[in-house]
């Protein structure tokens, strides 16, 4: 059902791949104790969303490829997010001398 003979790879195959990638990213985001790994998990989730947008744009919106334009914007915002996130991480590391997520309880209470 996923791989039909009419078109080589169908839309649900891409969507399932993207959802797998997204769920792996969510698990890594919750369970990572290294702050750099948390940022990597966020990048994985953003890539899953990009893959979703691209597959919808290719299969359902082949004429006006709006999904691809959105993907370009998401890539831009992801680059900005990575830069600011790593800068925050560096300044946290300078203050706390650790990258353990469990020790960052500055805003807790």
């Amino acid at each position: 059902m996923l791989i039909e003979s009419s078109e080589a790879v169908s839309l649900p195959a891409y969507l399932i791949l993207a959802s797998l990638l997204f769920c792996i990213g969510v698990w890594g985001l919750i369970n990572s104790r290294n702050a750099v790994r948390v940022l990597m998990s966020i990048e994985l989730m953003l890539n899953a969303v990009n893959l979703n947008l691209m597959s919808f744009s290719s299969y359902l919106d082949g004429e006006l490829i709006r999904g691809q334009v959105f993907t370009v914007f998401v890539i831009t915002v992801a680059a900005a997010e990575a830069a600011v996130g790593l800068a925050i991480l560096l300044s946290l590391y300078r203050n706390r001398v650790t990258v353990d997520m469990e020790s960052f309880n500055l805003l807790r209470w």
């Binding site: 080589a8 082949g62 004429e63 353990d100």
Partner: protein, 199 residues
């Protein structure tokens, strides 16, 4: 099934397995340097999937921005904060992992169910294929002009914010002697700039 379709299926399966195994490695591996390099592999495989979806421009942008910029940035961050530290054990960590894993599995099952049961209006309009780059350019300068300009402002803000957050506070005069400190050679001194608070 003709040869083009089978080639596409084989490419999809290879790239998909690279993506899934690579992302599992990113999340699960102990050594974070291996995770960062695997993340680059995942980005490259996702770019290959974009090529399968007839989107050469976005694939090139993915390689340039993610592999060329974000991954290198992450590697630099790892090098800057790479200190061997033994993490304190937390009670209930195993339960936490199992609980979050089951929640993620539930989310995955929900998403796959939505994927399979929704009647997608296939086949959609005919894909424009190789003209995608021109169409993206038209979009960016006509109906998506405002988001395009906002993205450039956002990039500027992110650049300034990253510089402000990440720079060290530097004194213009030496604290001990009172002389002017050589600003251009701040890295020359062997004294650690990060005070080791653990000892």
């Amino acid at each position: 099934m003709n040869i083009a379709a089978s080639t596409e299926i084989i490419c999809f399966l290879i790239l998909g397995s690279i993506v899934i195994l690579g992302s599992l490695g990113v999340v699960l591996l102990k050594n974070i340097v291996y995770s960062a390099f695997l993340l680059g592999g995942v980005f490259m495989a996702v770019a290959g999937l974009y090529l399968l979806l007839n989107a050469s421009f976005v694939a090139a942008a993915q390689v340039l921005v993610y592999v060329g910029a974000v991954n290198v940035l992450i590697l630099f961050a790892i090098m800057l904060v790479n200190k061997k530290e033994t993490l304190k054990p937390i009670k209930g960590l195993q339960i936490r992992k199992i609980l979050s894993g089951s929640i993620c599995l539930g989310l995955l099952i929900l998403l796959i169910r939505v994927d399979i049961t929704t009647p997608w209006p296939l086949p959609g309009p005919v894909s424009i294929g190789e003209q995608a780059t021109e169409r993206i350019g038209e979009h960016l300068f006509t109906d998506y002009l405002l988001p395009f300009e906002l993205a450039s402002v956002l990039l500027l803000m992110a650049m300034i914010g990253a510089i402000v957050l990440a720079r060290r506070d530097v004194f213009s005069t030496d604290i001990e002697t009172g002389n002017n400190a050589g600003q251009e050679l701040i890295e020359k001194s062997n004294a650690p700039l990060i005070i080791d608070k653990t000892s």
